[in-house]
């Protein structure tokens, strides 16, 4: 809703009043909070429903099994008694043989009860595993796909219910976790860039000088873009190893672009003030940008330029539309081609919007450049910190090469100019991978010490447990509140507490993992694929070329 408004607003280009902005901000916050809260509540309610259902379904069966253990033991002791009574002479060898046979049977029955029937080794009927908390834990374990297996449904109905429960619950949980991860990623990014970096770079100002350099670099690229794009396209066509950096497969690529698109849209709201500030000059600027891109791409890619030149060489708008980011998705291109531009209203509107989105960014770059040389207030610096493209910020020391430039998709879609890439890439300020890895590691280590304290497992065992849990492998050889009730005759409250703590730990940990995935996914995917591409591992490029060739025939 709020995004819709922001988009409209950009379309209108009116400078919003402070009150309106404030109201909108609160509205956005409220909707955001409510949508997230609704999602989380639904997940919690789902878990609670699962808890009640599974408890009702399974608890009787478990009690039955517990009772049967006692029966088995009595049966064995009866057999032994009869063995002693009925034998005339007590011969040690004979007795041992018979007794070992009986005890073997007893052992087999016990093992069967433990591994197949879910007996936990406890005979007291009052201490059952399928309590309300236990069932809640079971539901969480199912829908997070951890699956410890210490509690499993034994009745046929329980199994069927589990299947359908998981089918519904897993996507729900994933959505919720990804949402939480999103929020956490955003806030963490904010925290990192606004607080940490500000604090740590304030005295020495290394970050600032770096960002200044990079912004200078990007502006340099801006000026170079016409030549550079041509050169790069030549490089892609020759398929040198160098061009392989930042290679992505088609669909992940699409997704990432989608992501950028979404981000851009979401962030566009922050840009309102700047848009309005530069509203008088951007139209001119914005027009110049796609036109240059159109020229460069017409130099590069004969086919497209031919087509569009033949179609309407005068009307640069449509051409520019084809070069504007709306076509970042290849499916969209296909649709556009299929329909033969049958949706001109949308395309024009989109085009306009993208012009508007493009231009203030360019201006930002240049303005910030100027301002930074002057060394001005913090307000001006904040967009400047966005300028470094993710490559510059990687601790792995990759170049500042923008990642999509040498995309093999560019055979078809090489009509973004460098400016657009800069703009898009500046939007997502990445957090270094090392920090995320460190965060997850420290979370595991902290979990290790916590579980060592709670469950007396030993640090290594607890760390192993945390790892197995957070990767959702879930062996189930170590499960909270299992050893507690065994060694000491604890009351059920401690069991409840430890299960609750564990589920909190794993829920937060999985969302933390989702967050760090969110933060580093682009970097990681790009790095991995670039390494793969460097080794000429991925064949998608060749396939693309084959398709292109078949098109050209």
């Amino acid at each position: 809703m709020s995004r819709y408004q922001s988009r409209l607003e950009i379309g209108e280009l009116n400078p919003p009043s402070r009150c309106l902005r404030c109201w909108r901000f609160t509205w956005k916050t409220i909707t955001c909070i409510f949508s997230h809260i609704a999602l989380i509540t639904s997940v919690v309610a789902y878990c609670a429903a699962g808890a009640f259902t599974f408890e009702a379904l399974e608890v009787e069966n478990e009690k039955e099994i517990k009772r049967s253990i006692k029966g088995i033991r009595q049966n064995i002791s009866n057999h032994l008694w009869r063995l002693v009574v009925e034998s005339d002479v007590l011969d040690e060898k004979n007795f041992t043989q018979n007794a070992s046979y009986l005890i073997q049977n007893f052992e087999g029955a016990l093992i069967k009860a433990m591994t197949k029937e879910g007996w936990d080794g406890e005979e007291d009927e009052n201490i059952v595993q399928w309590t309300r908390t236990g069932s809640l834990f079971y539901s969480i374990v199912v829908i997070t796909t951890i699956g410890y297996g210490h509690l499993t449904p034994k009745t046929a109905l329980g199994k069927v219910v589990t299947i359908f429960y998981a089918i519904l619950g897993i996507p729900l949980m994933l959505i919720c976790l990804s949402n939480i991860g999103d929020i956490m990623a955003t806030s963490f990014r904010f925290l990192y860039w606004r607080v940490c970096c500000y604090v740590c770079t304030k005295p020495k100002k290394p970050r600032r000088s770096r960002s200044g350099r990079s912004s200078a670099r990007s502006s340099e690229r801006l000026s170079r873009s016409r030549n550079a794009s041509f050169r790069r396209s030549v490089r892609t066509s020759t398929k040198s190893a160098d061009s392989g950096f930042g290679y992505l497969t088609s669909h992940s690529d699409t997704d990432l672009r989608y992501h950028d698109y979404g981000n851009r849209r979401s962030l566009s709201r922050n840009r309102i003030s700047q848009t309005s500030r530069y509203s008088d000059s951007f139209v001119k600027r914005g027009q110049s940008v796609p036109r240059t891109s159109g020229k460069t791409s017409s130099l590069d890619r004969k086919k497209f330029s031919n087509r569009h030149a033949a179609k309407d060489s005068e009307n640069f708008e449509l051409q520019a539309f084809d070069k504007t980011p709306i076509l970042c998705n290849k499916y969209v291109i296909k649709e556009g081609e299929l329909n033969g531009h049958s949706i001109p209203g949308i395309t024009l509107r989109e085009f306009e919007r993208h012009l508007q989105l493009l231009s203030p960014e360019n201006l930002d770059v240049t303005h910030d450049d100027i301002h930074q040389h002057k060394g001005d207030t913090r307000r001006k610096k904040s967009p400047a910190r966005m300028n470094p493209s993710p490559k510059m910020m990687t601790p792995l020391g990759y170049g500042y090469k923008s990642k999509y430039l040498d995309d093999p998709d560019s055979d078809e879609e090489f009509y973004y100019d460098d400016v657009y890439y800069d703009v898009v890439k500046q939007r997502t300020r990445p957090v270094p991978i090392g920090l995320c890895v460190f965060l997850v590691m420290s979370y595991i280590v902290a979990g290790a010490f916590l579980f060592d304290y709670w469950e007396q497992w030993g640090v290594l065992n607890a760390a192993y447990f945390c790892f197995i849990t957070l990767t959702t492998i879930g062996f189930g050889d170590l499960v909270p509140a299992k050893g507690v009730s065994q060694t000491t005759n604890e009351t059920t409250t401690t069991v409840t507490v430890s299960i609750a703590l564990c589920s909190l730990y794993l829920l937060f940990g999985i969302s933390l993992l989702a967050m760090s995935f969110n933060l580093v996914q682009e970097e990681v995917i790009t790095n991995v694929k670039s390494i793969a591409k460097h080794l000429e591992l991925l064949r998608v490029m060749m396939k693309k070329n084959q398709i292109m060739n078949s098109h050209n025939i």
Binding site: W81, L90, F106, M114, K159, I163, L174
Partner: protein, 394 residues
């Protein structure tokens, strides 16, 4: 002078040799990461893991077994002693004693089952046989994690962590590669078989279009002018649509790419594939193991969704019947495990394929949803879901 030259030549030869070596290595690695190679790589990695884990864990497992045997012996000897030295031979007292002893034995059994004792009486470690360790490695890197076989030594646990850290991305790569491949081939099959034959109206038009495209391709090789002639004919046919040469090219493009890329397989078909695969697995496993159909289907679902409770584990039947001949057990055991591993790997690739197929249609769908109602919220939700799904599932 000559020596220098020779040295230089030698160096050049060396360099070229090094380069060739590098090339070979690169080609080899490229093969490993290609569609076929990745299967071999995953299997090789799993086999390597199996051997390592086996060597680490086998002794501990045997130790646990001997502990159980000792406990059993101790229990029997104590019962014997009590029987011998009990003076007034009363049933009550004797049964109390038996109860005590059996209770002790029971706790020791429970403890050793938690340590991985599986009740097999065989002299070798069945859990950590090659096949068992293979299944362990596979469940580790697929994050299924049955938990019927787990490491208990310190070295094993550390090894597990590092093995999983490397293995999981590898398996994800396998899934994405094979899933892509399967998705493409399935799309091709779907486009060529299902769409063309089952609905007559669409089929005839499609067949017509296809025939024309083939004609173009066929004649354009022989007759260079035919292409243009045909195009002019087509222009007359589709006057309202095509005004110039360039648009027609795009139409041709769309026809070309129709079969490969732009086919969207309906979600129901994907779901049907998944359900069908699970049912097929249920049928298969209820033949192999002693399970009922429902149990087998439940096992398949729990495995393929990577929940992996481990209450049903392949090879159960063999462990249960411990009187079977050892050699026979080993063989059958391994065969079952291998079939299960193949089923799992294929199934997960199939699910990745389904996600791949659904994703395409979903992105398209959500995109138009966005365009039509400007509702970015749903779109973003879908996007994040898909992304996370991709990360978790592929």
């Amino acid at each position: 002078m000559e020596r220098k030259r020779s040295v230089r030549r030698h160096r050049r030869g060396e360099r070229s040799f090094a380069k060739r070596c590098k090339d070979y290595i690169r080609h080899f690695v490229a093969f490993l990461f290609s569609n076929l190679g990745i299967i071999g790589l995953v299997i090789g990695y799993t086999m390597g893991g199996a051997l390592i884990f086996r060597s680490i864990e086998k002794d501990y497992h045997l130790q646990v077994k001997t502990d159980v045997v000792n406990a059993k012996m101790k229990t029997i000897s104590e019962i014997w002693n009590f029987t011998i030295f009990m003076n007034p031979f009363l049933e009550e007292e004797y049964k109390d004693m038996l109860e005590d002893q059996l209770m002790n034995f029971q706790t020791s059994i429970v403890r050793s089952v938690r340590k991985g004792y599986d009740g097999s009486r065989l002299s070798y470690s069945e859990q950590w046989s090659i096949a068992g360790a293979f299944l362990y490695s596979l469940t580790l890197i697929t994050t299924i994690g049955y938990g019927n076989i787990t490491t208990h030594t310190m070295a094993g646990q550390i090894m597990t962590i590092f093995y999983a850290i490397i293995g999981m991305p590898l398996f994800l790569l396998y899934l994405s590669n094979i899933g892509d491949l399967l998705a493409k081939s399935f799309k091709w099959i779907y486009a060529n078989i299902c769409l063309c034959r089952w609905c007559p109206g669409v089929a005839s038009r499609r067949a017509e279009r296809k025939r024309r495209a083939e004609k173009i391709r066929y004649y354009s090789e022989e007759d260079p002018y035919f292409n243009e002639r045909l195009r002019s004919e087509e222009n007359e046919d589709q006057k309202n649509e095509c005004s110039s040469n360039s648009t027609e090219e795009s139409v041709e493009d769309s026809e070309e790419s129709y079969d490969v890329e732009s086919v969207t397989v309906p979600i129901t078909v994907c779901l049907m594939i998944m359900v069908g695969y699970i049912c097929f697995g249920g049928f298969l496993f209820c033949k192999w193991e002693d399970w009922r159909f429902l149990e087998a289907a439940y096992f398949c679902f729990i495995s393929l969704s990577t929940i992996g409770f481990g209450d049903f584990v392949p090879g159960d039947k063999i462990i249960g019947h411990s009187d079977v001949d050892e050699v026979l057990v080993d063989e059958v055991f391994e065969l079952r495990f291998v079939f299960c591993a193949v089923y799992l790997m294929l199934g997960m690739a199939l699910i990745a394929m389904c996600f791949n197929l659904m994703q395409v249609s979903e992105t398209l769908y959500t995109y138009f949803l966005c365009l039509s109602c400007n509702e970015a919220r749903i779109y973003r939700l879908f996007f994040t879901t898909i992304n996370i799904l991709k990360i978790f599932q592929q």
